[in-house]
């Protein structure tokens, strides 16, 4: 043994964050131990950044033993793509990009005029899973996000069409996760299932995790649509009747630019964000995601079709 380490003191009491971290690390090691070709969905959003951080912890001092995949809608925040590419280089990860634009160009999906590309992510995601023969896909979904997610398992079986059938979910007892599946099927795995939005932020603070700058206050030209502040980009911009103004905003979630709204905020650092989230009267999806407002079952419907 060539490695020697100084010995630190015992830690006895596990805090809430310790318990959540240990659970997520356990889940990731189970996947690496039981499944052959895992991949971690990495969008450059805070949940996927926390997930990648947990993966580094789970396998240290070895490198993360699986690639990361970004489902790229083509409507990205430039700061997030910069963060993605820098992280992948620094950690020596392999990045798989599943492109919505390519799927549109190939005719595999049809773009709806003026519509969000978020629902269009399902086809390139499933195509990439098939092409790379991934059998486990880590997602950053949390049960506190949405009512359909609250019923999903840590290990969620998807059939060969990527579909989720809530009535055929496997019971999940103790910490005995069952990822077995037939050829062509795969499991989606959600190590952050039991985390809340605040837990994620507290963990970002505790671990000193760097996030893309758009999560913190900045000045931006925005316009109001569907009760959210949207920003112009490659996806399009304001209609003639929509007024553009400069505001101090930040993003609570990061997704497709066309349907992810900013919130008015002066939160400049993680501590400010924690105070703001703790005082907020709106959930992050309710505040900033147009795609979840379609109906009471919008997320359930998308999940059934193979969405994250």
């Amino acid at each position: 043994m060539t490695t020697t380490f100084p010995v630190t003191t015992t830690t006895t009491r596990l805090t809430q964050l310790d318990a959540l971290e240990s659970e997520a690390v356990h889940v990731m090691r189970e996947v690496a131990g039981e499944l052959e070709r895992p991949v971690l969905l990495f969008s450059g959003g805070k949940d996927s950044i926390v997930m990648l951080h947990l993966a580094r912890k789970a396998f240290w001092p070895a490198p993360v033993p699986f690639p990361v995949m970004h489902v790229d809608t083509g409507h990205n925040f430039p700061e997030v793509i910069e963060y993605r590419d820098r992280t992948v280089t620094e950690l020596g990860l392999r990045l798989v990009v599943a492109s919505v634009q390519e799927a549109i160009d190939d005719g595999r999906v049809v773009e709806r005029p003026g519509g969000s590309r978020n629902p269009l992510q399902t086809v390139p995601l499933l195509d990439a899973i098939t092409a790379h023969r991934f059998d486990a896909v880590f997602g950053g979904g949390r049960r506190d996000e949405e009512k359909a997610r609250a019923k999903e398992r840590m290990f969620s079986l998807r059939d060969e069409f990527g579909q989720w059938d809530p009535r055929r979910q496997r019971p999940e007892l103790w910490d005995l996760y069952n990822g077995r599946h037939r050829p062509g099927e795969h499991v989606r795995v959600f190590p952050l299932s039991n985390w809340t939005e605040l837990d994620v932020w507290r963990y970002v603070e505790r671990e000193g995790i760097e996030l893309p700058g758009i999560y913190f206050t900045h000045e931006r030209d925005v316009f109001a649509r569907d009760g959210m502040w949207l920003t112009a980009g490659t996806w399009g911009g304001p209609r003639p009747d929509e007024h553009v103004e400069r505001r101090r905003v930040r993003y609570r979630t990061v997704g497709d630019m066309s349907c992810t709204g900013a919130v008015d905020s002066t939160a400049a650092d993680v501590a400010d964000v924690i105070a703001e989230v703790a005082a907020s009267r709106l959930t992050e999806r309710g505040a900033t995601r147009a795609d979840d407002r379609a109906s009471e079952a919008a997320m359930e419907d998308r999940k059934r079709e193979g969405y994250f």
Partner: protein, 490 residues
């Protein structure tokens, strides 16, 4: 129990006053501890209202969630503007359309003292499957009764499953006290009947609280309408029950999940065994035994990304380095070298059958214990527990007489077989030895899964060794002789 304050709990909670949300702008940065709990009861008992009240009173329901529920209440023709809090917990379209809860839902709320993960299990539909799932990780179960109806068959069923799964604390929430005029005698009668029943089940840690979820009495705040009750409110109980077990009093079990071998220039020879401490404590310098091989070695390092530890308690995830180059792999269990830990290929235990395909004697299955998956043969089902009546039906000898149609999903009691939601005692023969910790004393390592090798589905969840089933049906002396197990080699 009953109307008395649970003194054992008060000792662990220095302050009896309820602590709800922290003051504005103050954050504990995740330093509080975590309690996992499960609720059992039906919508009729006011369970959803109770959960809604816990979420609402701890400010865990946000404005957009509440307005969505208000819209849904109105769309359903809800009356007089009273928000149907049940809709907060019904997540799936079919649940909302049919007004039933199908699946376990997980809810999150927190107070200044504690964060809670609540597994909300439906009371009617597939109750066994859902309840055992929720109870498997719970440190506390809330069993709900309607004060007007008292202890019902359903209450007994929920208590039996809670006891079977070894949940350490049970709170009997006697709800709708407003509808019985906050009558002390009514509460005492129900609490005492439940306490008697809990004694039959061998359930420890039972507490009863008189409350009204609708009006909020004794849920978060103490009620002025129950002056005869001097015990804690429901939330005070949830904040007071001990979560941290005394890890040093438990035997170490560390199932190996994954072998970490970086083979990088910085760590060319590193070999560490990654796993979560399931119970007990592992310390640098400990002499450990690797099961099932039986080889021993000494711990020379406990590594984490954040630096080395000299000891790690359950449920911490660590990477263990050993002094000797042993052949350790996923599925092995690290235990104290000095402890005689049972291992073997013959597993007797109690299972909850979880699928519509009935059990078939002689079926070839996979058995998952800890991180180890081995091939197994389901030799026999020799007893079945009726959780409604707490009676055990026992069958003698080894069943070879019946051929059972695996597609038969009828609820008719097929001989020697378990259907969906049935609980029975099974005997499994395993292709390789596994650690056989009794579930009753080793809740973190004594559980197992029975898996279908064809499609990977989970057929059953099991508890190794004697359980509530055996407690209720003591094995007769003439059946105790298990010679047939040794004699009937496969």
């Amino acid at each position: 129990m009953g109307t008395h304050a649970p003194t054992g709990l008060v000792e662990t909670a220095p302050s009896a006053s309820p602590a709800t949300t922290p003051p504005a702008g103050v954050d504990d940065h995740g330093q509080r501890d975590l309690l996992r709990l499960a609720t059992a009861g039906s919508v009729d008992d006011g369970k959803s209202t109770l959960i809604g009240r816990l979420l609402y009173d701890t400010k865990s329901v946000l404005a957009d969630q509440l307005s969505a529920v208000e819209r849904a209440t109105a769309a359903r023709g809800g009356d007089d503007g009273v928000v149907d809090l049940a809709l907060l917990t019904d997540g799936l379209r079919a649940e909302r359309e049919q007004g039933i809860t199908i699946d376990v839902a997980y809810r999150y709320f927190s107070t200044a003292r504690r964060a809670f993960v609540l597994a909300d299990t439906p009371g009617h539909v597939q109750y066994t499957r859902n309840m055992v799932t929720g109870a498997s990780t719970a440190e506390l179960a809330i069993v709900l009764v309607d004060a007007r109806k008292g202890v019902l068959e359903q209450t007994r069923r929920h208590a039996a499953l809670t006891a079977l799964l070894g949940v350490p604390h049970v709170v009997l929430a006697v709800n709708k006290m407003d509808l019985v005029g906050f009558d002390a005698a009514t509460f005492r009668t129900i609490a005492e009947e439940f306490a008697d029943y809990a004694r039959v089940l061998g359930q420890p840690g039972v507490h009863a609280v008189p409350l009204s979820a609708l009006a909020g009495d004794n849920v978060v705040d103490r009620s002025v309408r129950t002056p005869w009750y001097d015990g804690p409110t429901l939330l005070e109980l949830l904040e007071a029950v001990p979560v941290t077990r005394d890890a040093s009093s438990e035997p170490l079990r560390l199932p190996v999940q994954y072998v970490i071998r970086p083979r990088t220039p910085e760590h060319p020879d590193y070999r560490g065994y990654a796993g979560k401490v399931a119970s007990g404590v592992v310390r640098v310098g400990d002499e450990l035994r690797v099961l099932p091989s039986g080889r021993t070695s000494r711990v020379v390092g406990l590594d984490t990304f954040d630096g080395p530890l000299d000891a790690a308690d359950a449920p911490r995830s660590v990477t263990v380095r050993l002094a000797d180059d042993l052949d350790v792999a996923r599925g092995d269990v690290l235990v104290p070298a000095a402890e005689q830990v049972p291992t073997g290929q013959d597993l007797v235990g109690t299972v909850c059958w979880l699928t519509e395909r009935r059990s078939v004697a002689g079926a070839r299955v996979l058995v998952r214990v800890g991180t180890r998956t081995v091939r197994g043969l389901l030799r026999d089902v020799d007893a079945r527990l009726d959780v409604d009546t707490l009676t055990v039906e026992q069958w003698d000898g080894v069943d070879t007489r019946y051929t059972i149609d695996a597609t038969d999903t009828s609820t008719q009691a097929a001989p020697r077989s378990l259907g969906l939601n049935a609980i029975g005692r099974v005997r499994l023969r395993l292709a390789e030895p596994v650690v056989l910790d009794d579930y009753a004393t080793h809740r973190r390592t004594g559980g197992f899964l029975v898996v279908d090798p064809a499609d990977g589905s989970t057929l059953a969840a099991g508890l190794i060794g004697p359980t509530l089933l055996d407690r209720l049906a003591p094995v007769r002396a003439d059946e105790r002789d298990d010679d047939w197990l040794a004699g009937a080699g496969i």
